[in-house]
């Protein structure tokens, strides 16, 4: 039977205590790591598809990101977080789904020409719908000729004067 010298026993005990002391101080809570990951995600819209699970400091990344660069950046960012152990990167690359894209309003090619034409006549308002120019307001007889000539040169389908008066 070997009797350990008391000196060795005390050293082992001291080391254990020290080790135990350091673990308690250094261990970062999983919830804190999760919070740090969420903060990192928020800074980059491309990371919004990343789902991170943290267990005992080990992080698993799942979900999809738009490109390889984002996948690599997610892993790098997480590894840099204090307390993180291993990072398992299961992120997949998938093109982002565009839901309900904003319809692009198609402006009539007549509009800029119409706006140029009425610019000299502050009492005239105009709008364009389906290549029909709708006039509102009023104009003098003399100016009406010039305005009509200018508007006609734009080749509209029709000019609606139902709300327009010539004085």
């Amino acid at each position: 039977m070997t009797i350990r010298p008391i000196r060795t026993v005390l050293t082992i005990a001291a080391l254990s205590a020290t080790t135990a002391f350091y673990s308690c101080k250094d261990k970062v809570k999983d919830s804190d790591i999760q919070t740090a990951i969420e903060n990192a995600k928020a800074s980059d819209a491309k990371m919004s598809g990343v789902i991170a699970t943290v267990k005992d400091g080990d992080v698993t990344l799942e979900g999809s990101v738009p490109d390889e660069a984002t996948k690599a950046a997610a892993e790098t960012n997480v590894k840099a977080i204090k307390g993180v152990g291993t990072v398992t990167n299961n992120l997949t690359i998938a093109a982002p789904v565009v839901e309900n894209p904003m319809p692009v309003p198609v402006s009539s090619p007549l509009e800029p020409g119409v706006m140029d034409a009425i610019k000299s006549y502050p009492t005239v308002k105009a709008s364009v719908k389906d290549s029909v120019i709708i006039l509102e307001g009023s104009i003098s007889k003399a100016d009406n000729i010039k305005l009509t000539q200018a508007l006609n040169s734009l080749h509209p389908k029709k000019i609606d004067r139902s709300k327009f008066s010539v004085k």
Binding site: P112, G113, M115, D116, A117, K119, S120, K141, A142, D143, N144, I145, K146, T148, Q149, A150, N152, S153, L154, H155, P156, K157, K158, I159, D160, R161, V166
Partner: protein, 140 residues
């Protein structure tokens, strides 16, 4: 009976007799479209006078008359604004920078006619740019 044959016979007859190039008379969606080119501004005025008599103030809106005065480079034109100056612009649009002006009644030289609305002109003072064609009357 169609508009061309009926209400606007005098106008379509005059347009046909006016020796316009690219004359087009077409009825679409209840609107009579008459277009053509002339080098003579008085021909354009004549047709517009007839149109104004047949439909005072053009109120009915059943005609689109479009007579373009197309002239050769170097033709002079009179500025026909009501009384104000005509802006000479860097480009063909009212959003374009103003680079000069021509007074009411002044004569300018037409350099080119890129489209029916904007012509490239040069003033006696040597300013060159785009002016709104509606306020220019080419001199015969």
């Amino acid at each position: 009976m169609s508009l061309a044959q009926d209400k606007y016979k005098q106008l379509t007859d005059a347009a046909t007799a006016a020796n316009l190039s690219n004359l087009s008379i077409d009825e679409k969606g209840g609107v009579l479209h008459i277009s053509g080119d002339t080098a003579d501004a008085s021909v354009k005025d004549h047709l517009w006078n007839i149109y104004g008599q047949l439909d005072p103030d053009f109120q009915t809106g059943d005609v689109i008359l479009d007579i373009a005065t197309t002239v050769s480079s170097g033709t002079k034109a009179t500025v026909t604004t009501n009384q104000s100056n005509l802006n000479i612009r860097k480009g063909p649009g009212t959003d374009q920078e103003i680079v000069g002006k021509a007074a009411h009644g002044e004569t300018v030289t037409i350099m080119s006619q890129p489209n029916e609305q904007w012509w490239l002109v040069r003033t006696a003072a040597g300013e060159e740019g785009y002016a709104y064609a509606e306020f220019l009357s080419p001199q015969v």
